[in-house]
Each structure stands twice: as C-alpha cells, then as structure tokens.
Amino acid sequence: MSAPYRRTVVDAAGWDAAADAMEAGDTTLLSLWAEIGCVHLAVLDAEGIEILSLPCPDGYFPSIGRRHPPAIRLERAVRDLFGLEPEGLPDPRPWLDHGRWGDEAVPAAAYPFLPVEGEALHQIPVGPVHAGIIEPGHFRFTCDGETVVRLEARLGYVHKGIDRLLAGAPLARATKIAARVSGDSTVAYALGFAQAVEQAWGLAPPLRAVWLRAVMAELERLAHHLGDWGAICNDAAFSLMLAHCGVLREQVLRTAATCFGHRLMMDRVVPGGVAADLDAAGMAALQGLIAMLRARVPPLVKLYDDTASLQDRTVGTGRVSPALVAQFGAGGFVGRAAGRAFDARRATSYAPYDGLRFEVPVLQAGDVNARVWVRIREIEQSLSLLEQLLPGLPAGPVRIPPEDLPHGPAEGLALVEAFRGDLFVWVRLEAGQVQRCHFRDASWFQWPLLEAAIEGNIVADFPLCNKSFNCSYAGHDL
C-alpha cells in the first residue's frame, strides 16, 4: 500500500517552522501546491511524509522559497495557477504563465531573464523549438567565449491545464488524464494516481495486480534507461551505442506490447488493479526478453567503459555537488549519482517492493558518467526484480470492478518511483469524482540543478549534460 502520512492544518507560525526545518536540512521538500484559498506543503522527514495545510483566505501565504530555494518555482507556479501570493518570494516573475492566457490580441510581455554583467559576455538563446524531436523549452546561455557563465531555463511551453482538467473529472476520465500527464512515464503516473486513490478509499487491490504493476513499472524503467544510455552517448557523437541501445529498447517495447497490448503500457494501471492480465504467451515473451538483455547488456557496458574517447566526454562533465542535490531533494539518477540514496521504492517500500531484493545504486561523482552508471546499475536491478516478480506472480483476479469502488469523500497520496525519480501524487475525491489532484514530477527539483551543473562547463557540453538529466517538460509544465 501507499505511504501513510500525517496531515496537519497549520497557522503562519507552523508554516514558518516547516520552512526552518527544510532550511536546516532536517526535512526534505516533497511538493508545494494549492487549491482555492489554501496551500499545501508536503515534506519528508525521518518519520515519513507530512502534509501541512495553510488556509489563506486573504490570498497571501508566507513564501517558503524565501528561506528554501527549491520551493521558488513551485510557488511561482502556485501564483500563476491559483492567484495566491507568496509573500517575500525572491523571484516574482511568472513561471508557467507566459502572458498568453488572457486576450490573445495583447502581445505577451518579454520575459526578464536574470541579468548577467561582465565584459565580453554574449548570450545564446536556444529553443523553445529545437532541431531534434524533443519537447519545447527555452534555454538562455550567457557565455564567456565557450564557457557558460549562466544558464537559465524557461519552461511552461507545454502547459496543458492538467490541474483544471482533473478538477471535477469522473474517476475513469481522471485515470486517463493521469496516464497522459507525461507520456514517457505513463505507467508511473497511472500507478501514482491509482495508489493515491486506493489509499484515499482504503482499498487493497488484488495481489496479482500489485505484482503486475511492478512488472510494468520495471519494463518502463528498462526501456527508458536503455534509451537514455544510447542517447547520451549519441550526444557525444558515439552513435554506435545509440544503435545498440535502440534495438534493445525496441525489444522491451515490443515485449510490453505483446504482454499488455500497448508499447508504453498506457491505461493499463487503473485504480483498483490493472486493466490487462499477463497470459502464458506474455510470460514466455518476458522470460525471453530478460534472457536476451542478460546476454546483450554486459558487452555494451564493456563497450561504454572501454571507449576512452567517450569516457573523456562523460567523466567530470556537468558535475552537481552532493550538497546541492541534498538541498533540492533531487531524486532519480540525478540524486543517486551525487550521493543521495533516495528511491521511493525503498523509502516508502510500497508493495510488492517490500518483499523483493534490490539495491539502490549510489555514486558520489555527480557527473554525466555517474548518471550513466546509475542507469546501467538500475537496468541490472530492474532485470533482477523482473526475475523475482515473474516466478512469484500470484494467481487470482487483477481488478476490483469499477462499480464496486466506493464513492465517499477522501484524500490520499502516493510517492512512487518513476524512471526519472520520485513522483508525488496527492488526490482528493468526492462523490466518485476527483475534486483536486496534484502531480509533482521528479523534474521539478532536477531542472534547477541542470542550471548549476552546466556552470563553468563549455557550451558544447550542454547537450550531453541535458541528456544525462533528461528532465520532463510535460510532467513539469502540467
């Protein structure tokens, strides 16, 4: 089941105390979100997850970002989406709101990028439309020759109004929307949503469904880690790795299609269970996939490790300090490559991971190479998890029929491990509908670190750093 949590309604003093604890490093910010007239703060401490709610009838709340920088972008988003004013917010610029939500005839004001002063500095604007098939985002580099002095990202180009779409949506529709927040993490998002709903209603999905969800989640992780690995190497013009990894990734996706009827396994995880069962043919395909990957991944690891020209590019590039990672509470390969041993599968040990053996690989270097190695180790761990999941797969039903689901008002949350890192989901249900639902992608705390990682590197190394972070645009812009 999902992580249990504490829920407290606080006043301004209690809110400030939470900021103190985060600033001191005693607790980690999980998310900050709002609804009309109220802001919520989720923090992780030694005892687990705590949600603090601060009613703000006047439309103001004390800024957390003033004390704890990781909250700044979340507060800017809260201000844009709900009109609540974070008092003392150090960065008052809009974030998701690009000035195009009102009258379309009125041209949007120019976005004031942070000023950079110095002689012989020049700016390079990149995006939001890029040459490759990737999501849109704008990057403003200020360079001294080839050396990056400052990078500032501007996001929000794929804002879809997820919060609004989910408000008042019937459960079935909300499940579909949740699976589409960020297409590459569709299993993780659906899983997070389902777990939050199940926690709210106190449901226990059938055991077989819980195990099948883990199978899907690990397949998703395998596919994306393989894809990322190749893509990172390709950004150093080592296309051989992309070709090999591309073949393996495709095999994973095809196996997923064979087993669950969809390459990305979209809409397969639903509240109350899963919407697809694994048959004997699917089981055989999975066994074949695991055997194939077990045979073909090690030579690629050797190729990666033995190619000196590639190592020359990845080692020492785009370093993020462990202190910064700890401050931002960055999850996934970004955090684990810089000493933060956090994995939601281990931290909240939701089923079935509580009964499975796996390691959380942690490295200290914090560079591109470390982020590649964390992925490589996680590929091995995912294979090992699949090898444990398949033989132990319980028999039985895979879904609680939708008509048997409760309808009452309830709240729940979930913290699940997507391939990018921990995904936080909070949901409030009422009369079989979603009243308010909040997703916090791992990228919220990884994007700011990318800006720190590139500092002092050369501008030509940015694509390599960026790919090694592989942050989500869609999951972040909501």
Binding site: I124, H130, G132, S239, S309, D312, F462, P463
Partner: protein, 316 residues
C-alpha cells in the same frame, strides 16, 4: 592542346559528379555499421536536386556577402579539386598551382564561410565561425608543415611532380612520409568536419562547427555549400591517394584505356578511404572542443618531425 583541355575538363566534371557519391558512400558505411539500412548512396544527389528546386529564404539583414559566399566557396573548392591529380598526373591545370595554392584556396573558402556565418548575426553562426577559425588556425600550419615534408622528399611542391616522383623514383619506406600521412589524415578529418572534431550528422546546434555556420542557408545557396563540402571530402581523399598511394596514376597524354584504368583504380582508393572514414567515425566519440588543439597540434608535430628527420638524414 585540345585533348589536354578535354581531359582536364573531364577530370573537373568527374570530381563534381562523384563528390556527392563519396559522401553517400560514407553515410552508407556508417549506417550499415550501426545495423541500419541507411539511405541510398544516391541520397546526396536527391538532396541537391531538392535544394536547387527550393526558394532561398534570406534573413532581412543579410548582406551581399551572405549571397555571394556560397558561390565563392563552391568555386574555390572546385578549382582546388581540379588541381589535384585524381587519376592522372600532369593535367594541364595542375601546372598552374601547387599544394600551397590548394591550401590557400581552401583557406579562402573557409574565410568566406566564416564571414557569411557571422553576417546574419545569429548566435549559432558566430559560435560556429569562431570554432571553425580556431580549428583552421591550427589545421593550416599542420597542413603547410606536411606539404614541406613531402616537398623535401620530392623536390617540388607541385602535386603532379610529387606524385610522379613517388610513382617513379624508389622512395622506399620513409619515416617522414609515414608521419606526413598521419598528419594529413588528422588535417583531413578536421578540415572536413568529421568525428572526432565535428559531427556532420548532429542536430545539436550547440555542438556544431561547420553546420552551425550554414544554419541560416537554404535553397540553392545551401546546395552550393553542401556540394562544396562534398568536393572537399573528395579532394582530401584524392590527395591522400595521390601523395601516398600513387600507384595506378596515369600520365597526361596516355591513351583512353590508360585513363579508364586509372579512373577505376582511383575509385577503388576512394571506396577504401570512405570505408575507413566511416569506421573511424563510428568507433570514437567526438572530442571536447578544447581538445581539438591538442589533436591538431599532434598533426603539426608529426609534420615538423617529418621535416626535421629529413634534414637530419640528409645532413642539411
């Protein structure tokens, strides 16, 4: 006189016609090595036809330089290619310029491209131009050094004379020439913007060198630049062939059958070099921009060592 001119004309047309094919073959080799099917080797021709059929989109602030540069680059590169003994030595044009002229023509083309890259004032053009000039400032001395090395052996900077010398005199295995070959290969990789110096296949603007300068070009202008780039690759491949593997080169004034045989052998050499280049590009990653000076510095040192060894062995 007339037959000599005709042969020269045929050589010029042949290099022009075959240049895109060489690029296509390199791409095909790379694709096959990546276990991809890859585009047809004729794809560069189709690209050129497509580009020639398209309108030119010009930036509003583009000056005359931006419009003239593609033709200047193409012309300079084509003339340089005409001076190289591709399949026959002693062709009539080859007496008008030597290896230093070829270097200068290519340098001029690059100068025009760098200016054009900066002309429109986009950040990528400037970025590419500054990188290109950095690479050029290191590649050209290395090129000159290896020219001197070869010239000392053959007693001339004239390519036809050098090739004829290598072909007819018992040069034997010389350390200096081996060093010059390595240097020329490094310079060729850098000059043509291949991995590990530049990646011709990338879409990442921030990492580009050559491609960054031509980002703003379109239509027939882009066609000219692409063709010039293909010609340059052919030129360097032919240069390596005629300087270090001159077997099979015909002499001016031989019979048509002799020419045909020489052309066939030249094509084989090009194919081998294309396969080698494709393999090289796949087996290494691109180096950091600031590692390129070390790489080209090595080429310069090889050239210098070659020259020094020659002086030592001949007692000045």
């Amino acid at each position: 006189m007339i037959p000599a001119l005709l042969v020269q004309f045929a050589q010029m047309m042949l290099v022009l016609a075959l240049a895109p094919l060489l690029t296509g073959v390199v791409r095909k080799v790379k694709a096959r090595l990546q276990r991809r099917r890859g585009a047809s080797v004729l794809q560069p021709y189709r690209d050129l036809r497509r580009l020639l059929g398209k309108d030119v989109v010009l930036a509003e602030n583009a000056s005359w330089l931006f419009r003239v540069a593609p033709y200047a680059i193409f012309a300079a590169t084509w003339v340089a290619a005409a001076l190289v003994p591709t399949f026959a030595t002693g062709l009539i044009f080859s007496w008008t310029g030597d290896l230093i002229v070829i270097t200068a023509l290519l340098g001029g083309a690059r100068f025009a491209l760098a200016l054009a890259g900066m002309d429109v004032g986009t950040s990528f053009g400037g970025l590419g131009a500054s990188r290109e000039v950095m690479i050029a400032s290191l590649a050209e001395p290395a090129m000159l050094m290896l020219v001197f090395c070869v010239a000392i052996v053959a007693g001339s900077t004239q390519l036809s004379s050098i090739a004829a010398h290598m072909l007819t005199q018992p040069v034997g295995l010389r350390v200096s020439l081996a060093l010059a070959l390595v240097a020329l290969c490094i310079v060729a990789v850098a000059e043509n913007g291949r991995v590990p110096v530049d990646n011709p296949a990338t879409h990442l603007e921030l990492t580009m060198v050559h491609e960054a300068m031509v980002l703003e070009y379109s239509g027939r202008h882009l066609a000219m630049i692409e063709l010039a780039a293909a010609l340059k690759l052919l030129l360097f491949a032919s240069l390596i062939g005629c300087l270090f593997f001159p077997f099979g080169l015909a002499h001016a004034g031989t019979d048509p059958a002799g020419y045909l045989l020489a052309i066939g052998l030249w094509l084989v050499k090009l194919l081998v070099l294309a396969a080698l280049l494709g393999t090289l590009e796949l087996s290494i990653a691109k180096m950091r921009v600031f590692r390129v000076p070390n790489f080209l510095g090595a080429a310069f040192m090889f050239g210098l060592l070659g020259v020094l060894l020659l002086f030592v062995s001949r007692g000045m």
